[in-house]
Each structure stands twice: as C-alpha cells, then as structure tokens.
Symmetry: C2
Subunit: 182 residues, 2 copies
C-alpha cells in the first residue's frame, strides 16, 4: 500500500472496529438535535451534544441551522427547506466514505465533488393527491473525482462508500420514528 495523505486516520478506524467487536455497548451512539419554532414555518435547530463510547460528549462547537420554506411557498426563505437537509447529509456522508476508502486502498485523491438532486412531487405534502408520497420520489448523486486511480478503481471507491454509508442506508431503508408530545 502506498502512503497517501487524504487526511483520514484509517488506522484509528480499523482499531476502533476491532475494539468495538468485543464491546458492543460502547458502539451505541445517540445523536441529538433541538429545534425551536421561530415564526411561520421558520425554525432554528441546534446541535452540539451526543452520547457515545459510554459517555456524554460534545462537538467542539455548537452548530446552528435555519430551516424555512422558499418565497414561492409564501414563506420567508430564512434557510433551506427541511427536506434539503437530507441531501446535505447524503452528499457529505458519501464524500467522507470516498475519502476513507481511498485512504484505506492507497489512492491519493485530488478533488471530490458531487451533486445530489432529489425529485419531489409537492402534491403529497399539500394533500393534493393521496397517491403521491410526501418525501422524495428518487434521489440521484453524481460524483466528479480526480484521483491517482483508474476509472474502475474510482467507481469501486464510490460503490464501497455507498455500502458503508449511514445516510444512504437511512434513506434507502425504513427507520422507526416515534413522535411524542411531552
């Protein structure tokens, strides 16, 4: 294997894999977000704390996000729409995977960019047609990758990233979601 410098500490991840095989309770993470309604359909969402490796932890900094609807929905467009956050997550998850797999395979990356497009028939959320689902009809991700590797090897990187992606799984397979009033 060539020594590459994509910046991913693959050895730490391989070590974590071995350790967590024997300590499944440490592998249980809880990710958290807190939302606060502002006005109209505008809300503000904060993320900082999470639980993992057996204890409460925090990101280095609190991240604050705004979500709203665009003016074409008669809203104030103070931020992207909630559904767009899903494709932000998908793009970044697959990109992190490409970098990690490349590092593990000794492939030097020069640039990785991607575009995600989510097709959405808004008749679902408006209640205009009960046969139309509320979410995306489908999502397409297109990668442009400049790397020291053949096209075949680059396609294999992307395929492996997809196979290990948390967000790809969350969007392509159902998750149980419970919603309660405190």
């Amino acid at each position: 294997m060539t020594t590459v410098t994509n910046g991913v500490n693959v050895q730490a991840l391989l070590d974590a894999r071995e350790v967590l095989k024997g300590a499944p309770e440490a592998a249980q993470f809880t990710w958290r977000a807190s939302a606060s309604w502002q006005h109209g359909v505008h809300s503000q969402i904060k993320v900082q704390s999470f639980f993992g490796l057996g204890e409460e932890r925090e990101h280095k900094a609190e991240s604050v996000f705004e979500a709203d609807h665009p003016e074409v929905f008669a809203a104030t467009d103070n931020g992207i729409t909630p559904i767009e956050y899903l494709i932000v997550g998908l793009a970044s998850c697959l990109t992190a995977g490409v970098a990690s797999v490349a590092e593990n395979r000794g492939i030097q990356l020069r640039s990785v960019t991607s575009t995600v497009e989510g097709e959405h028939d808004i008749r679902g959320i408006l209640g205009a047609d009960s046969d139309v689902r509320n979410g995306f009809n489908d999502i397409k991700v297109t990668f442009h990758i400049d790397a020291d590797a053949s096209r075949e090897d680059i396609e294999a990187l992307v395929a492996q990233s997809q196979k290990r992606s948390a967000v790809f799984d969350a969007l392509t397979n159902p998750t149980n979601v419970t919603v309660e009033v405190a």
Copy 2:
C-alpha cells in the same frame, strides 16, 4: 375559525393545492446540494438553486454547511456528522408542520420546541458486525408545545404534522437512491 398569527400563509397553501391538482407537472420540484471534499472526512456542502413550478429558482441566499466526524472518531470535528443532518431536517419539518396545521385549525402557538434523538450503533459503518445496519436503529422526537389549545388538540396537531411531513416519510419509507461517477 379564529384568526391566528402563527405567520403561516395557509390560504396560499390551500390555493396552491387546488391549482396543482390540475397542473401536476408544476408540482415537480428538484432540490439540489453540491458537496466539495475538503480534507479527511470533512466536506463543505452548498445549497441555493432548485427547480419548481416549471422553472429554475434560487433561495434568497446560498447556504453553506460543514460536515465532519468528531474527534472521538480521530477526525477534525469541523462540523456535525452527515447523519446528524437527517435529524436537523426531521425536527424542522415536523415543526413547520405543527405551525401550518395550527394556523389552519385556528390554534395560536406560543412556543414549540423539540428534541430529536437518533440511536446509532456504529458497528455497522465500521464493518464490525454485518448484522448491524449502517443507519439509525430508531429515532425519537419529543415536542414541548405551549399553545392556546387542549392537550388532545396539541397531540392532534403533531399527528397531522407527521402525516404530511416530507422528512418523516423519507426516513420511515425507502427512497430509490442512484449513485454515479460522471
């Protein structure tokens, strides 16, 4: 119906519903995000343009997001993790729904906050156990709502929001995702 001031233009949404019933092609939206790998598992994602109501459109401003992994994953923690973006989207989508349904039902909201917790067994993404999925095991959303309404009416608001939520649907039902190298 009481006149309420939650700030949601419900009449515009009801009008859009009627118009789009007879113009399904106008209801086809495309949401877009572009990601650019930075270093390690850190990427930057930009969102501004989208397609809808038959033409290319833009949010008022470009939104720029950072995604990374935390230091406990031997990464640089320059932003929240990709999977956390999914719960940001879920929290904001359900909150927008609560405000919209409340407006439609004549319920004045005073405050709406929520916490979303996503349980995640990271043995999946690490490849430590092939029986563990990559995404969330389950997600729990807890709302705190102060409104001029009974507890029963508040619970009905949340239930209706869930029923019409784009992100709730996207997480609880599968979506086809295609990933390609250009």
